[in-house]
Amino acid sequence: MAADSTTTTAATAATTDDDAVDLGRGLDALDTPTEQRTPLWKRLLTGVVPPIVAVVLFVVVWQILWASAIWPEFKLPSPEAVFGTIGTDVADGRALSIIWTSISRAVLGFLLAVVIATPIGLLVASVPLVRSAIGPVLTGLQSLPSVAWVPAAVLWFGLNDQTIYFVVLMGAVPSIANGLVSGIEQVPPLLPRVGFAMGASRSQSARLIMLPAALPGFLGGLKQGWAFAWRSLMAAEIIATSPSLGFGLGAYLNEGQALSDMPSVMAAIILILIVGIGVELLFFRPAELRVLRARGLGTGP
């Protein structure tokens, strides 16, 4: 039957099975996307060197501004004084205890936020009624600066750790939940259809198809959630200070202001930045790159 029709198509060339195999193999070889992996040194050169140069340039400009003495010393201390403050704090172990106080709170608050936000995100993404009820609230909360919760939290919980964690949660939960919702939304509708056609039950479809497919969006939400958790924590620590609260980076910053000690203030800002960026670079970036690269979506170094 259709053997006749093949003579009219390009398959005429494939007179024997071997030819067809060769043709197929040739097509595979030619059409397979070639992935070019940039060598490590090149990635280091393009990924690490530019930010270092930028930081060095920044310090140089700072040094020049300080040397030109446009502003008095108590407003713009020299880079040497600021890094000297950081140096002595690190040397006597004070910096470590300050950073540890803040980081342990941020990490605990962040993990708590993940535990709370994940079911909320799943619920909003999968139940239309819940979505129309609290979806807009979630998005609204995301744009509300969590500092705004500090006065309320102080009045509700008093000056203690609960206040701090409450503010951190209000900062991080909406971001994480929204990230999960948008991750699930961005799953191509064909994937769950294919899953259903292959006989996936609802729970199998959620576990084996929807959640892995939503992972890039969820990771983006986690990353933003961490940034918000860290920010909210700093705001809470600066505003709500009390001996009972321990001495974190925010309190350190606040103390610098109280003592008009500009080098300490700037040292605190730099440490806050370093921790925020460090956690992002050490944990979130690698995780995100791994996930994206495995799906052929990875870009950049």
Binding site: M1, A2, A3, D4, S5, T6, T7, T8, T9, A10, A11, A14, D17, A20, V21, L23, G24, R25, L27, D28, L30, D31, T32, P33, E35, P188, L190, L191, R193, V194, G195, F196, A197, M198, G199, A200, S201, Q204, L208, I209, P212, A213, L215, V291, A294, R295, G296, L297
Partner: protein
């Protein structure tokens, strides 16, 4: 499983049909906006048969395929299949991008609760069947469009036939539903994949219902071509390709009829 491109006359097929569509209608929407996609469609496909559903856009051929696949319900009429669940292949490969080729093929077996070692072995077999031996560890984005579609074919075969095995009867060889699976490929890749599909079909004895709007493709692949009209979709005519002496003439016949169906909408 030896593969040849030579076509033999179809053996007479007995027993209940692998696919039985009886008086199926499908209406989308209601009231004045209602669109009748399918109207009283009857279609019966014998076990191991290769049938092409041919029609212009909007003829409801994909709708019919979805009904058979159980992805949608008919407004009236019945769809019966001997296979517990027909496997579906779409125009896009729709592979899961986070799984490598092997695990994509394993997925339907995993969903069916089959153990790791067995499903891995079966995935290896099926990948070899579609000439992708040794590519199991590749991720979808590392494969060409044609290779991805072959992984999707292997996955559909896994879904249709489970662990398979030699000496299975036609009834157990599963039902494969294909919705313009080669529509997004370039001409020469499509040509190669058509030959591959015929080879795989002959090797496995799977029942195939193949949707296309390409007359040449339908004449080349199918034992039987079923033409659907558009809005509402009805079966207009069928051709058995094995009884035609001249493929070109058959191609001309079917094209003429298809043009007639389409121009009826312009009047």
């Amino acid at each position: 499983m030896t593969a040849t491109l030579e076509r033999h006359a179809p053996e007479p097929r007995t027993g209940p049909p692998a696919l039985d569509v009886r008086g199926v209608s499908k209406v989308f929407g209601s009231g004045e906006d209602a669109v009748v996609a399918l109207d009283g469609v009857d279609l019966s496909v014998a076990p191991g048969e290769f049938v092409c559903l041919l029609g212009a856009s909007g003829c409801g051929k994909s709708t019919l395929l979805n009904l058979v696949a159980g992805l949608d319900r008919p407004t009236s009429g019945t769809v019966e299949t001997t296979a517990a669940r027909p496997a579906v292949m779409f125009q896009e490969a729709a592979l899961l991008p986070w799984l490598d080729a092997g695990r994509n093929v394993e997925l339907p077996l995993r969903l069916a609760g089959i153990g790791r070692a067995q499903r891995r072995e079966r995935a290896r077999e099926l990948l070899a069947l579609v000439r992708l031996e040794g590519q199991a560890a590749k991720r979808p984005h590392e494969l060409s469009g044609g290779m991805r579609q072959r992984v999707a074919l292997a996955r559909a075969l896994a879904a249709a036939t489970g662990l398979g095995g030699e000496g299975k009867s036609r009834e157990e060889a599963g039902v494969l539903l294909m919705d313009e699976p080669f529509g997004a490929l370039d001409a020469i890749t499509r040509d190669v994949l058509q030959a591959e599909l015929l080879r795989v079909w002959e090797a496995t004895g799977t029942t195939v219902l193949f949707v296309t709007h390409d007359v040449r493709e339908s004449v080349r692949l199918a034992e039987r071509v079923v033409l659907l009209s558009s809005r509402p979709g009805r079966v207009v005519r069928e051709w058995a390709t094995s009884t035609a002496d001249d493929a070109e003439e058959l191609h001309g016949d079917i094209t003429g009829e298809l043009r007639e169906v389409i121009s009826a909408h312009g009047r």
